[in-house]
Symmetry: C2
Protein backbone atom coordinates (compact mmCIF):
# COMPACT_ATOMS: atom_id res chain seq x y z
CA UNK A 1 0.00 0.00 0.00
CA UNK A 2 1.45 3.31 -1.10
CA UNK A 3 1.65 5.97 1.54
CA UNK A 4 -0.46 8.97 0.76
CA UNK A 5 -1.44 12.13 2.53
CA UNK A 6 -5.19 12.35 2.11
CA UNK A 7 -5.93 15.43 4.14
CA UNK A 8 -4.92 18.20 6.48
CA UNK A 9 -6.79 18.75 9.74
CA UNK A 10 -6.68 21.87 11.84
CA UNK A 11 -8.02 22.72 15.27
CA UNK A 12 -7.88 25.95 17.26
CA UNK A 13 -10.20 25.10 20.12
CA UNK A 14 -7.41 23.61 22.18
CA UNK A 15 -5.11 24.57 25.01
CA UNK A 16 -1.60 23.28 25.60
CA UNK A 17 -0.62 22.40 29.17
CA UNK A 18 3.03 21.86 30.12
CA UNK A 19 4.20 20.52 33.47
CA UNK A 20 7.81 21.56 33.96
CA UNK A 21 10.37 20.18 36.36
CA UNK A 22 8.56 16.89 36.92
CA UNK A 23 10.33 14.16 38.93
CA UNK A 24 11.30 11.36 36.57
CA UNK A 25 10.22 8.52 38.80
CA UNK A 26 7.46 5.88 38.58
CA UNK A 27 3.97 7.03 39.47
CA UNK A 28 4.13 10.71 38.52
CA UNK A 29 2.36 10.39 35.16
CA UNK A 30 -0.21 8.08 36.76
CA UNK A 31 -1.11 10.75 39.36
CA UNK A 32 -1.46 13.53 36.80
CA UNK A 33 -3.65 11.58 34.39
CA UNK A 34 -5.76 10.02 37.11
CA UNK A 35 -6.55 13.53 38.34
CA UNK A 36 -7.49 14.58 34.82
CA UNK A 37 -9.69 11.51 34.32
CA UNK A 38 -11.44 12.13 37.64
CA UNK A 39 -12.11 15.73 36.54
CA UNK A 40 -13.44 14.34 33.26
CA UNK A 41 -10.91 16.26 31.19
CA UNK A 42 -10.53 14.73 27.75
CA UNK A 43 -6.81 14.68 27.00
CA UNK A 44 -6.38 14.81 23.22
CA UNK A 45 -2.64 14.31 23.08
CA UNK A 46 0.09 13.45 25.58
CA UNK A 47 3.70 14.25 24.70
CA UNK A 48 6.61 13.42 26.98
CA UNK A 49 10.08 13.31 25.43
CA UNK A 50 13.07 11.72 27.13
CA UNK A 51 14.21 12.97 30.53
CA UNK A 52 17.63 14.20 31.60
CA UNK A 53 19.03 14.36 35.13
CA UNK A 54 15.94 12.83 36.82
CA UNK A 55 13.74 15.73 35.60
CA UNK A 56 11.25 15.67 32.77
CA UNK A 57 8.38 17.66 31.36
CA UNK A 58 4.96 16.51 30.22
CA UNK A 59 2.93 18.40 27.61
CA UNK A 60 -0.68 17.56 26.92
CA UNK A 61 -3.43 19.06 24.76
CA UNK A 62 -6.96 19.56 26.09
CA UNK A 63 -10.19 21.08 24.86
CA UNK A 64 -10.07 24.86 25.29
CA UNK A 65 -13.17 24.85 27.51
CA UNK A 66 -11.38 22.73 30.13
CA UNK A 67 -8.52 25.21 30.62
CA UNK A 68 -9.96 26.59 33.86
CA UNK A 69 -10.51 23.07 35.31
CA UNK A 70 -6.91 22.21 34.51
CA UNK A 71 -5.66 25.51 35.94
CA UNK A 72 -7.24 24.55 39.29
CA UNK A 73 -5.75 21.05 39.08
CA UNK A 74 -2.41 22.66 38.29
CA UNK A 75 -2.49 24.46 41.63
CA UNK A 76 -2.80 21.12 43.44
CA UNK A 77 0.09 19.67 41.38
CA UNK A 78 2.26 22.61 42.45
CA UNK A 79 1.23 22.22 46.10
CA UNK A 80 1.90 18.45 46.02
CA UNK A 81 5.26 19.14 44.27
CA UNK A 82 4.28 17.00 41.30
CA UNK A 83 5.52 19.77 39.02
CA UNK A 84 7.72 22.82 39.50
CA UNK A 85 5.68 24.90 37.10
CA UNK A 86 2.40 24.50 35.21
CA UNK A 87 2.02 26.53 32.00
CA UNK A 88 -1.27 26.79 30.12
CA UNK A 89 -1.22 28.33 26.65
CA UNK A 90 -4.54 29.00 24.92
CA UNK A 91 -3.15 30.74 21.85
CA UNK A 92 -2.20 27.47 20.14
CA UNK A 93 -3.50 25.32 17.34
CA UNK A 94 -2.97 21.77 16.17
CA UNK A 95 -2.38 20.94 12.54
CA UNK A 96 -1.92 17.42 11.17
CA UNK A 97 -1.39 15.56 7.91
CA UNK A 98 -3.42 12.38 7.81
CA UNK A 99 -3.31 9.33 5.56
CA UNK A 100 -2.12 5.75 5.33
CA UNK A 101 1.34 4.59 6.37
CA UNK A 102 2.37 8.16 7.13
CA UNK A 103 4.73 7.50 10.02
CA UNK A 104 6.53 4.66 8.30
CA UNK A 105 7.29 6.64 5.15
CA UNK A 106 10.53 8.58 5.68
CA UNK A 107 10.11 12.08 4.33
CA UNK A 108 6.41 12.90 4.72
CA UNK A 109 6.94 14.45 8.14
CA UNK A 110 10.04 16.23 6.85
CA UNK A 111 8.03 17.78 3.99
CA UNK A 112 5.43 19.04 6.47
CA UNK A 113 8.10 20.55 8.73
CA UNK A 114 9.80 22.10 5.71
CA UNK A 115 6.54 23.67 4.48
CA UNK A 116 6.07 25.28 7.88
CA UNK A 117 9.73 26.40 8.00
CA UNK A 118 9.43 28.12 4.60
CA UNK A 119 6.63 30.24 6.07
CA UNK A 120 8.67 30.96 9.24
CA UNK A 121 6.17 29.01 11.36
CA UNK A 122 7.78 27.62 14.50
CA UNK A 123 6.87 24.09 15.57
CA UNK A 124 6.17 24.00 19.28
CA UNK A 125 5.31 20.28 19.69
CA UNK A 126 5.41 17.22 17.43
CA UNK A 127 3.54 13.95 17.83
CA UNK A 128 3.20 11.13 15.30
CA UNK A 129 1.19 7.95 14.84
CA UNK A 130 0.88 5.49 11.93
CA UNK A 131 -1.77 7.65 10.29
CA UNK A 132 -0.82 11.12 11.33
CA UNK A 133 1.88 13.71 11.94
CA UNK A 134 0.61 16.43 14.28
CA UNK A 135 2.24 19.75 15.13
CA UNK A 136 1.28 22.30 17.75
CA UNK A 137 1.93 25.83 16.49
CA UNK A 138 0.90 29.36 17.43
CA UNK A 139 -2.83 29.97 17.08
CA UNK A 140 -2.40 33.04 14.88
CA UNK A 141 -0.44 31.11 12.26
CA UNK A 142 -2.97 28.32 11.73
CA UNK A 143 -4.52 29.62 8.51
CA UNK A 144 -1.11 30.25 6.95
CA UNK A 145 0.05 26.80 8.07
CA UNK A 146 -2.95 25.08 6.48
CA UNK A 147 -2.29 26.89 3.20
CA UNK A 148 1.43 26.05 3.31
CA UNK A 149 0.81 22.36 3.93
CA UNK A 150 -1.92 22.11 1.30
CA UNK A 151 0.42 23.68 -1.22
CA UNK A 152 3.16 21.19 -0.33
CA UNK A 153 1.02 18.05 -0.55
CA UNK A 154 -1.76 18.98 -2.98
CA UNK A 155 -0.20 21.73 -5.06
CA UNK A 156 -3.04 24.11 -4.31
CA UNK A 157 -3.84 26.33 -1.41
CA UNK A 158 -7.59 26.37 -1.96
CA UNK A 159 -8.80 23.16 -0.32
CA UNK A 160 -9.19 23.32 3.40
CA UNK A 161 -10.50 20.77 5.82
CA UNK A 162 -11.15 21.61 9.40
CA UNK A 163 -12.41 19.89 12.45
CA UNK A 164 -10.57 18.18 15.31
CA UNK A 165 -6.96 17.29 14.42
Amino acid sequence: EQAAVVGVTADKKIAKVTLLDVHDEPGVAAKVFKDLARADVNVRLIIQAAATHDRNRITFVIDLDKAETVRMLGLTWLKRKIAGEVLIDMDVAKIAIVGSRIASTPGLGARMFDALAKHRINIDCISTSEMKVSCVIGGKQLDEAVRAIHEEFFGTSKRKTSGPA
Copy 2:
Protein backbone atom coordinates in the same frame (compact mmCIF):
# COMPACT_ATOMS: atom_id res chain seq x y z
CA GLU B 1 -18.82 3.23 20.08
CA GLN B 2 -17.54 2.10 23.45
CA ALA B 3 -13.82 2.56 24.00
CA ALA B 4 -12.03 -0.69 24.52
CA VAL B 5 -8.46 -1.79 24.86
CA VAL B 6 -8.14 -4.75 22.50
CA GLY B 7 -4.46 -5.50 22.83
CA VAL B 8 -1.01 -4.75 24.13
CA THR B 9 1.91 -4.46 21.72
CA ALA B 10 5.56 -4.61 22.67
CA ASP B 11 8.73 -3.99 20.72
CA LYS B 12 12.36 -4.23 21.77
CA LYS B 13 14.08 -3.85 18.41
CA ILE B 14 14.17 -0.09 18.71
CA ALA B 15 16.57 2.68 19.67
CA LYS B 16 15.65 6.04 21.18
CA VAL B 17 17.44 9.11 19.86
CA THR B 18 17.29 12.43 21.74
CA LEU B 19 18.60 15.73 20.37
CA LEU B 20 19.22 18.03 23.32
CA ASP B 21 19.66 21.79 23.33
CA VAL B 22 18.00 22.32 19.97
CA HIS B 23 17.30 25.93 18.83
CA ASP B 24 13.59 26.51 18.97
CA GLU B 25 13.30 28.29 15.63
CA PRO B 26 11.65 27.44 12.30
CA GLY B 27 13.52 24.99 10.10
CA VAL B 28 15.37 22.89 12.68
CA ALA B 29 12.98 19.93 12.67
CA ALA B 30 12.85 20.08 8.85
CA LYS B 31 16.65 19.74 8.60
CA VAL B 32 16.80 16.79 11.01
CA PHE B 33 14.00 14.79 9.41
CA LYS B 34 15.10 15.58 5.85
CA ASP B 35 18.53 14.12 6.74
CA LEU B 36 16.87 11.02 8.18
CA ALA B 37 14.65 10.59 5.11
CA ARG B 38 17.65 10.97 2.80
CA ALA B 39 19.47 8.26 4.81
CA ASP B 40 16.33 6.11 4.51
CA VAL B 41 15.87 5.85 8.26
CA ASN B 42 12.33 4.87 9.15
CA VAL B 43 11.30 7.04 12.08
CA ARG B 44 8.65 5.18 14.04
CA LEU B 45 7.74 7.92 16.48
CA ILE B 46 8.60 11.60 16.88
CA ILE B 47 8.09 13.25 20.27
CA GLN B 48 8.76 16.92 20.88
CA ALA B 49 7.16 18.52 23.94
CA ALA B 50 6.89 22.27 24.43
CA ALA B 51 10.02 24.41 24.50
CA THR B 52 11.14 26.80 27.21
CA HIS B 53 13.30 29.85 26.71
CA ASP B 54 14.48 29.27 23.13
CA ARG B 55 15.65 25.67 23.56
CA ASN B 56 13.87 22.42 22.98
CA ARG B 57 14.59 18.73 22.64
CA ILE B 58 13.42 16.22 20.05
CA THR B 59 13.12 12.50 20.79
CA PHE B 60 12.49 9.97 18.05
CA VAL B 61 12.36 6.19 17.88
CA ILE B 62 14.07 4.25 15.08
CA ASP B 63 14.67 0.63 14.17
CA LEU B 64 17.59 -0.74 16.20
CA ASP B 65 19.54 -1.63 13.04
CA LYS B 66 19.70 2.03 11.99
CA ALA B 67 21.40 3.20 15.19
CA GLU B 68 24.83 3.39 13.57
CA THR B 69 23.50 5.40 10.59
CA VAL B 70 21.88 7.85 13.00
CA ARG B 71 25.05 8.03 15.12
CA MET B 72 26.94 9.23 12.04
CA LEU B 73 24.19 11.72 11.22
CA GLY B 74 24.32 12.91 14.83
CA LEU B 75 27.96 13.90 14.36
CA THR B 76 26.95 16.20 11.49
CA TRP B 77 24.14 17.70 13.60
CA LEU B 78 26.66 18.49 16.33
CA LYS B 79 29.09 20.02 13.82
CA ARG B 80 26.33 22.11 12.21
CA LYS B 81 25.18 23.18 15.72
CA ILE B 82 21.70 21.78 15.11
CA ALA B 83 21.85 20.10 18.51
CA GLY B 84 24.04 20.53 21.58
CA GLU B 85 24.04 16.82 22.33
CA VAL B 86 22.81 13.65 20.59
CA LEU B 87 22.00 10.67 22.82
CA ILE B 88 21.25 7.22 21.45
CA ASP B 89 19.86 4.60 23.82
CA MET B 90 19.52 1.02 22.59
CA ASP B 91 18.38 -0.52 25.86
CA VAL B 92 14.78 0.66 25.45
CA ALA B 93 11.45 -0.85 24.50
CA LYS B 94 8.09 0.45 23.39
CA ILE B 95 4.86 -0.80 24.90
CA ALA B 96 1.39 0.32 23.83
CA ILE B 97 -2.27 -0.28 24.55
CA VAL B 98 -4.30 -0.33 21.34
CA GLY B 99 -8.02 -0.14 20.66
CA SER B 100 -10.81 2.16 19.58
CA ARG B 101 -11.29 5.67 20.95
CA ILE B 102 -8.42 5.21 23.36
CA ALA B 103 -7.12 8.76 23.44
CA SER B 104 -10.55 10.32 23.85
CA THR B 105 -11.50 8.18 26.85
CA PRO B 106 -10.18 9.84 30.00
CA GLY B 107 -8.65 7.27 32.27
CA LEU B 108 -7.35 4.53 29.94
CA GLY B 109 -3.90 6.11 29.72
CA ALA B 110 -3.97 6.75 33.46
CA ARG B 111 -4.68 3.04 34.12
CA MET B 112 -1.73 2.07 31.94
CA PHE B 113 0.58 4.51 33.71
CA ASP B 114 -0.69 3.29 37.07
CA ALA B 115 -0.08 -0.37 36.17
CA LEU B 116 3.53 0.51 35.29
CA ALA B 117 3.93 2.60 38.47
CA LYS B 118 2.76 -0.30 40.67
CA HIS B 119 5.61 -2.35 39.24
CA ARG B 120 8.11 0.52 39.75
CA ILE B 121 8.57 0.83 35.98
CA ASN B 122 9.63 4.33 35.02
CA ILE B 123 8.06 5.90 31.93
CA ASP B 124 10.70 7.54 29.80
CA CYS B 125 8.52 8.85 26.92
CA ILE B 126 4.80 9.03 26.24
CA SER B 127 3.03 9.42 22.91
CA THR B 128 -0.68 9.03 22.16
CA SER B 129 -2.96 8.81 19.15
CA GLU B 130 -6.69 8.06 18.77
CA MET B 131 -6.02 4.32 18.81
CA LYS B 132 -2.98 4.00 20.99
CA VAL B 133 -1.11 5.08 24.11
CA SER B 134 2.61 4.27 23.75
CA CYS B 135 5.30 4.40 26.41
CA VAL B 136 9.06 4.05 26.03
CA ILE B 137 10.53 2.21 29.02
CA GLY B 138 13.78 0.44 29.85
CA GLY B 139 14.42 -2.63 27.69
CA LYS B 140 14.94 -4.95 30.66
CA GLN B 141 11.48 -4.19 32.08
CA LEU B 142 9.49 -4.98 28.95
CA ASP B 143 8.30 -8.46 29.94
CA GLU B 144 7.21 -7.25 33.37
CA ALA B 145 5.47 -4.27 31.80
CA VAL B 146 3.52 -6.46 29.36
CA ARG B 147 2.37 -8.66 32.26
CA ALA B 148 1.40 -5.65 34.37
CA ILE B 149 -0.65 -4.06 31.61
CA HIS B 150 -2.34 -7.33 30.64
CA GLU B 151 -3.35 -7.81 34.26
CA GLU B 152 -4.76 -4.30 34.42
CA PHE B 153 -6.85 -4.48 31.25
CA PHE B 154 -7.58 -8.19 30.83
CA GLY B 155 -7.34 -9.50 34.38
CA THR B 156 -4.82 -12.15 33.35
CA SER B 157 -1.12 -12.10 32.76
CA LYS B 158 -1.05 -15.09 30.39
CA ARG B 159 -1.96 -13.58 27.04
CA LYS B 160 0.85 -11.83 25.31
CA THR B 161 0.98 -10.17 21.94
CA SER B 162 4.17 -8.93 20.46
CA GLY B 163 5.29 -7.33 17.26
CA PRO B 164 5.88 -3.66 16.37
CA ALA B 165 4.30 -1.22 18.80
